[in-house]
């Protein structure tokens, strides 16, 4: 193929004085950026192939490599920005949809950055989490509105029935749906084990449950997506909970496609499809064209698991998210997962990822309020997903009304990801979003587990500090407690939608 008319995104600066010509970069790069120049026997690079994942830079023993943004400048144009010009060029060359990975990278207003937390001063004391208990324990699932003492039968126990349908989280952070296929088995193992060790849950995505992950199945939320890959009654019975995936924040309304070349023997066994065949998830579930169909699927699953496990529904945060959520509660779901516009993906058309959906902050606020207005908030747990970068994002999400959050991208970053957005190529140098055995063995699942546990521990500590600072010692007293939030630099309508006051307004 002719050389692309696009100039490369990155330039590779190699300090030839430092380079010892060990050729490690040549060997490791899955994108074949580096090569040995036979004529000069120097190591050289093809900038145009570089995705900016920084693996070689990280690996280079002498620090000879620096990856930089290409300083080459086109004439500045506020409308015809570089990325649009490049995209057109690529499409003119290929005639295809431009794909991307990870979450939306557009600079839409990030409401987390416009919300401030409260702290206790004088009239109530702040609480020191190092000296006093500080509780993050959270329960996900359907709860009842009131305890009816007359109905409480301690032996056959309606209490047990209700409690058995709840997930018990030591920290209100779960690992988001990432399938074996979109990420490597080593990455899945690291995540699954971390969930088990930290007392939280991980999500299989729609990739099925690989045999080697069975030991972590009691901490798994298994997904049923439109492709129904890997779904069997055993799959459901091993899991802790079931999630019906209707949509994903990165690609609302769009299906999925795992190309046949990635469907290895292991993936084929796990997804229960022939080796080498494309795994195509249709855009809708073809047995769910309306809310009553959803109800039927929910109850079909509940029958299968004998009403002992929570069944949730995952949707993308879209304009009508509040009424849809209300419908999902009434359809019988025990938890609802809402994935915001910044939610990640292994592969999605860039126009969809960047232009469809609404921010998770807003979705949480409107769904929580709507369910309260209808008096059904207690019947369901809200799990929020989509771009949580720090523990304060999570605290803000919970204060807006979420019960717990899913983290995907931040978990992958803990495993080495540098957010180069090339997951869809299957050439992840960090061994995460790839099935190439040469690459996947770079990710040591034990080290990965340790790093994920560290992340959850660190975030828990930070969350406890923030809670204690507000004079609150249990996360449930913060959930939906929007009095603890203030907006900054937000318009009246934004404040109204978020249900918070502006900074400067007292109680």
């Amino acid at each position: 193929m002719a050389k692309s008319k696009n100039i490369s995104d990155f330039v590779i600066e190699r300090d030839q004085n430092r380079c010892i010509k060990c050729h490690a970069c040549v060997r490791v790069c899955a994108n074949d950026v580096h090569f040995k120049d036979d004529a000069t026997s120097e190591v050289a690079s093809d900038d145009s192939k570089c995705v900016g994942c920084h693996f070689c830079e990280d690996l280079c023993p002498t620090g000879a490599l620096v990856i930089r943004k290409n300083p080459s400048e086109t004439r500045e144009n506020a409308h015809w920005k570089k990325e649009y010009i490049y995209r057109i060029v690529r499409q003119a060359e290929t005639g295809g949809i431009v794909l991307t990975g990870m979450g939306c990278d557009r600079p839409y207003k990030n409401y987390f950055d416009h919300i401030l937390l409260n702290a206790a001063q004088v009239t109530n004391p702040s609480i020191d989490p190092l000296r006093e208990p500080m509780e993050l324990k959270t329960f996900i699932g359907r709860k009842i509105d009131a305890v009816n003492l007359d109905d409480l039968n301690w032996k056959t126990t309606s209490i047990d029935e209700i409690m058995s349908g709840l997930l018990e989280l030591e920290v209100p952070i779960m690992f988001s749906a990432m399938s074996f296929g979109s990420i490597s088995l080593n990455a899945c193992k690291a995540i699954a084990e971390a969930a088990k060790l930290c007392g939280t849950y991980w999500n299989t995505g729609e990739g099925g449950l690989h045999q080697s992950l069975y030991p972590y199945a009691d901490r798994a939320i298994v997904q049923i997506a439109s492709g129904r890959f890997g779904v069997s009654s055993e799959y459901l019975s091993r899991a802790a909970a079931v999630e019906i995936k209707i949509g994903q924040g990165a690609k609302p309304g769009i299906g999925g496609h795992l190309p046949g070349e990635k469907v290895s023997q292991e993936i084929s066994l796990t997804r229960m499809i022939p080796q080498g065949s494309d795994a195509i998830s249709p855009a809708p579930h073809h047995d769910i064209y309306s809310i009553e169909d959803l109800r039927q699927l929910i109850f079909a699953i509940k029958e299968t698991v004998d009403y002992k496990k929570p069944v949730g529904v995952k949707i993308a945060a879209v304009h009508n998210v509040a009424p849809i959520a209300s419908g999902i509660v009434r359809a019988g779901a025990d938890f609802i997962t809402i994935d915001g516009v910044r939610g990640g993906t292994g592969a999605a058309p860039v126009v969809i990822r960047d232009n469809v959906g609404i921010p998770i902050e807003i979705a949480i606020a409107v769904v929580d309020q709507r369910l309260r207005d209808e008096g059904i908030r207690n019947q369901i747990s809200i799990v929020a997903a989509g771009g949580f970068r720090t523990s304060s994002d999570i605290i803000k999400a919970i204060t807006l009304g979420a019960d717990a959050v899913y983290i995907g991208t931040s978990a992958l970053i803990a495993l080495g990801c540098h957010v180069c957005q090339k997951c869809y190529t299957g050439k992840c140098n960090w061994g995460i979003a790839t099935q190439d055995p040469y690459l996947t063995r770079r990710l040591n699942p034990e080290i990965g587990t340790k790093r994920l546990c560290n992340l959850l521990r660190a975030w828990s500590l930070e969350m406890k500090e923030m809670l204690g600072g507000m004079g609150i010692n249990a996360i449930e007293s913060l959930r939906g407690n929007r009095e603890q939030l203030r907006g900054i630099d937000l318009s009246e309508i934004e404040l109204k939608i978020l249900g918070i006051k502006h900074a400067g307004e007292s109680w």
């Binding site: 206790a120 009239t123 305890v147 009816n148 301690w154 209490i159 004079g471 609150i472 407690n481």
Partner: protein
């Protein structure tokens, strides 16, 4: 500042306040003069700053013990007629009169204070699931819809008396020593703001619940949203209001007993629940904490809550505010400070500090002298 402005502030913002609280109960439901509680609360003058004090007494209207008694304050001319028209449509007004008061020089902005003894009209009472819910709805309607009116007491055979002033001034104003009751609670307020609205003083009451509270509820935001779901509208923006409504919701509507109610409001820590050896109790504690997560009160508080059959003293989960209790003969005393108890009972048989989150619950015996004690259990 103008009175209207002051009222506006009090009604529209949440004002944190430190306070002193006191309660006395006679377990045999023998009535005694309000003088005792006045003397007790006045011992803790430092805990208030003259911006609010009040009393609630039980058994004070024996001659009307089966009538609903509404204490209403009016601070706008013309509002009284409108409210009375509203009441007449729903109730037979058995008796009504201005609440007897004395002139106290230091008090200002005094509203018109009136009390009504009521029977629910037949056409309503026939279709009611409970009289209490009807009264609750009536009170909510008046407080939300009539701008210049505020119902500050709405029980049977009990009454709340409160205003802006020091506790001795308020006691003198209402002639508290002339009333005889078997349970008394009192409040002395230290708001961190200038307020002048009489409705903002405490105790806070709904039906025959009365509550005094020292502290700040950091979970207020979620407690309030939870209550709104259950039909309670917080019109006063005070922590005490949400506490009172939570007691009504949990104990009366959901029929939890007081111990269970304490597991909800000052939930035991998960560690404590884990350590509990009684399997049934452990299960119940966990269950209540999960189901009523949004009703948990977080932040520092010491509260005294009463109704016609019980008096409860309770602290937050860490005991961040003082509360001490004492007993002698058939009396139980609860107060912010021991001095307030020693003042009226110099030699109690027992003095103790209630543990964090563990309530003192004093149940009353029935006493024929003043009528039946209503049981919420």
């Amino acid at each position: 500042m103008e009175y209207e402005q002051l009222k506006l502030i009090e009604k529209s913002v949440k004002i944190p306040s430190g306070c002193g609280v006191a309660g006395i109960v006679n377990k045999n439901a023998n009535r005694f003069s309000g003088e005792m509680i006045v003397s007790s609360i006045c011992m803790m003058k430092d805990r208030g700053n003259g911006l609010g004090a009040g009393y609630a007494g039980y058994g004070i209207y024996p001659e009307f013990s089966d009538k609903w008694c509404l204490h209403v304050m009016y601070d706008k001319t013309g509002e009284k007629e409108k409210v009375e028209e509203f009441l007449e449509a729903r109730f037979n007004i058995v008796e009504q009169e201005p609440i007897p008061v004395r002139k106290v020089k230091s008090l200002s902005f005094i509203p018109v204070l009136h009390r009504y003894f009521l029977d629910i009209k037949n056409k309503f009472s026939d279709n009611l699931t409970s009289e209490e819910d009807f009264i609750l709805e009536t009170v909510m309607k008046i407080n939300r819809n009539f701008d210049g009116a505020c119902v500050f007491s709405s029980g049977k055979n009990m009454g709340i008396f409160k205003g802006v002033g020091h506790p001795d001034e308020i006691a003198e104003f209402y002639n508290i020593h002339n009333y005889k009751g078997y349970t008394w609670i009192a409040h002395n307020r230290f708001p961190t703001n200038t307020v002048g609205w009489w409705g903002g003083a405490h105790p806070f009451g709904i039906l025959d619940w009365a509550c005094v509270h020292n502290g700040e509820i950091s979970s207020y935001g979620i407690n309030r949203r939870y209550l709104e779901n259950a039909g309670y509208y917080c019109t006063f923006y005070t922590d005490t209001e949400v506490i009172t409504y939570l007691f009504d919701l949990l104990c009366r509507r959901h029929k939890l007993n007081f111990e269970m109610c304490s597991y909800v409001l000052a939930s035991p820590f998960w560690e404590e629940i884990e350590r509990e050896t009684d399997v049934k109790k452990k299960k119940l504690m966990k269950f209540l904490r999960i189901i009523y997560a949004s009703a948990m009160l977080n932040g520092p508080f010491a509260i005294i809550v009463a109704n016609s059959s019980v008096l409860i003293g309770m602290n937050d989960r860490l005991k961040l505010r003082p509360l001490v209790a004492a007993s002698k003969d058939d009396f139980v005393f609860v107060a912010s400070e021991e001095s307030a108890i020693r003042k009226i009972c110099p030699h109690p048989e027992r003095v103790w500090m209630p543990e964090a989150g563990k309530p003192i619950i004093v149940h009353l015996q029935e006493n024929k002298n003043y009528g039946e004690i209503k049981k919420y259990k």
